[in-house]
């Protein structure tokens, strides 16, 4: 069976959930091979997790340059492995960086690039959801092995035994004339909450929350559900919540199992970023709010009554 390369997304040796989703999706196309690119010692930390999700091989591309330059070391590593392994496909996460890696790799390999897939099919085609979820598209690469970025949260990660046989990849030295040097990093501080695009549950607040202080009611519900916190553009523009948490056309696109919208009217702008969520629950005072048109369950009422009650109910059920 042909290999399918999966670029591992990790932070300080902790594998991101999306990588496990990619390893699962890869099995539809062939044998998953994980490609680890990072500072020396990274692969040793992540190998066990990769094996538990079906990685038959782990390609290890480690060097100081690999962690010191933006994007290009990952493209170099994938291109090097692709040159010898002749993979059926290359899968990366459809994050800001993953999309950039996929674009550059496709140019280098002469391959078709398929962006932001929400499903990967056995014949190498992918399903996409475009224009904020208004259109479904099926596409495939016409040339070369497809380079596919897969939207986080769109595939359910399933465990599988993998041999995780290590192979070392020699990375070329970074060329500073062609690569940007990383001079510092400040990881996003999300506290103990999951990352917005990775979360299974997202609780978002809108203009109806009314102030930055009152966003606490959104956070409390989120914490009871182990959810990420999001915000509508109106809430961000009003200064209630930081812009990095904005969900919508100009913010993040999320597709969690459960999306709870509190005090969000549901403008097209917002819906574009969340309407592919599996289940949508909305609370709004205004019975005419468009969010109710797409909500699976809606409550017309004051979010400051409904949300705390729901928080208590969730806590009770958890025991």
């Amino acid at each position: 069976m042909a290999e399918v390369l999966v670029l591992v997304d990790q932070v300080d040796g902790e594998v991101k959930k999306v990588t496990l989703e990619l390893l699962t999706a890869a099995r539809a196309l062939g044998e998953p091979s994980a490609v680890v690119v990072g500072a020396p010692g990274t692969a040793a930390k992540v190998k066990e997790t990769l094996a538990a999700y079906g990685a038959q091989k782990v390609y290890v591309a480690e060097s100081d340059d690999a962690a010191g330059y933006l994007v290009t070391p990952k493209v170099d590593a994938l291109a090097t492995v692709a040159g010898t392994a002749s993979p059926a496909a290359v899968l990366v996460a459809a994050t800001a960086e993953g999309k950039e890696v996929s674009g550059r790799l496709a140019v280098r390999l002469g391959s078709g690039v398929l962006v932001d897939a929400v499903g990967v099919n056995a014949d190498g085609s992918v399903d996409q959801s475009i224009f904020g979820g208004a259109f479904s598209v099926k596409a495939r690469a016409a040339k070369g092995a497809p380079v596919i970025s897969v939207r986080p949260g769109s595939v359910d990660a399933e465990r599988a035994e993998g041999a995780a046989a290590e192979e070392t990849v020699e990375l070329p030295a970074a060329d500073p004339a062609k690569s940007a040097r990383i001079t510092g990093v400040e990881p996003a501080v999300g506290g103990d909450r999951p990352e917005l695009t990775e979360a299974t549950v997202v609780v978002s607040g809108g203009r109806g929350v009314g102030s930055a202080e009152k966003f606490e009611v959104v956070e409390k519900l989120a914490d009871s559900l182990g959810a990420a916190v999001g915000a509508s553009r109106a809430a961000v523009d009003s200064g209630y919540y930081p812009a990095q948490f904005q969900v919508g056309q100009t913010g993040k696109t999320v597709s969690p199992q459960l999306y709870i919208a509190l005090g969000i009217s549901g403008a097209i702008q917002h819906r574009a970023g969340m309407q592919t969520s599996k289940t949508i629950v909305a609370v709004n005072k205004d019975p005419e709010a468009p969010i109710f048109e797409i909500a699976d369950f809606g409550v017309v009422g004051d979010l400051f009554d409904v949300a705390p009650q729901l928080t208590d109910e969730v806590a009770k059920r958890k025991g």
Binding site: P176, R181, P287, V306
Partner: protein, 261 residues
Amino acid sequence: MPNIVVLVKQVPDTYSERKLNESDHTLDRESADAVLDEINERAVEEALKIKEASEGEVTVLCVGPDRATDAIRKALSMGADKAIHVSDESLHGSDMVATAKVIAAAIGRVEGVDLVIAGNEASDGRGGAVPAMLAELLGMPQLTHARQVTVDGSTVQVDRETEEGLTHLEAGLPAVISVTEKINEPRYPSFKGIMAAKKKPVETLTVADLGVDAGEVGLANAWSTVLEAAPKPPRTAGQRVDDEGDGGTKIAEYLVGQKLI
């Protein structure tokens, strides 16, 4: 004196209904209002700021059908100096790889480019990869998703902001930059700017002018193919209840029923 090329794109207004053509699955350009993508205004603004700090010249580059002229004029009226418009019917249906190759070839026609500035992601395709692909094709460093740009002599520093947080980047010129929504507030064109824009030079080029192989562009030659496309059945409203003091409990019961908690 940086010589800057800014990329602009005309997109269907996100507030109108966006569709694909039934015949070939390409963007239906007639169905929606066409506008200069908002993120490109920020790219133009950033180019103008850099130019104003240290002189230099700003060239607007647009690949798109004839009516994209409106987007180009808007960028010129903000204060860009001149424009290149690559318009060719053979480009219809080109994918990201082909588009990047055409843009790279067009940038190659501008002498002594120091900076290429683009938006980080267009609001229609949302591929978010063309600036990176240009860096690959042009052999320049990529400093993308910038929320702050500092040009100092022959080096450029960028604060990159993505879902992972902030990354501080540094590279020598020439370089490719893409900007995020947070980089700046774009200026409004002044009346004087609008009048002046009408006299600014716009060079119109075809694929052949750029020396790009016609076999590398267009729908038939794309590296990726759309097999099917269909509007999604709209999500339908589910249950809705009025809060009678038990709204939170009712949601909890619904979630339990759906096995979500």
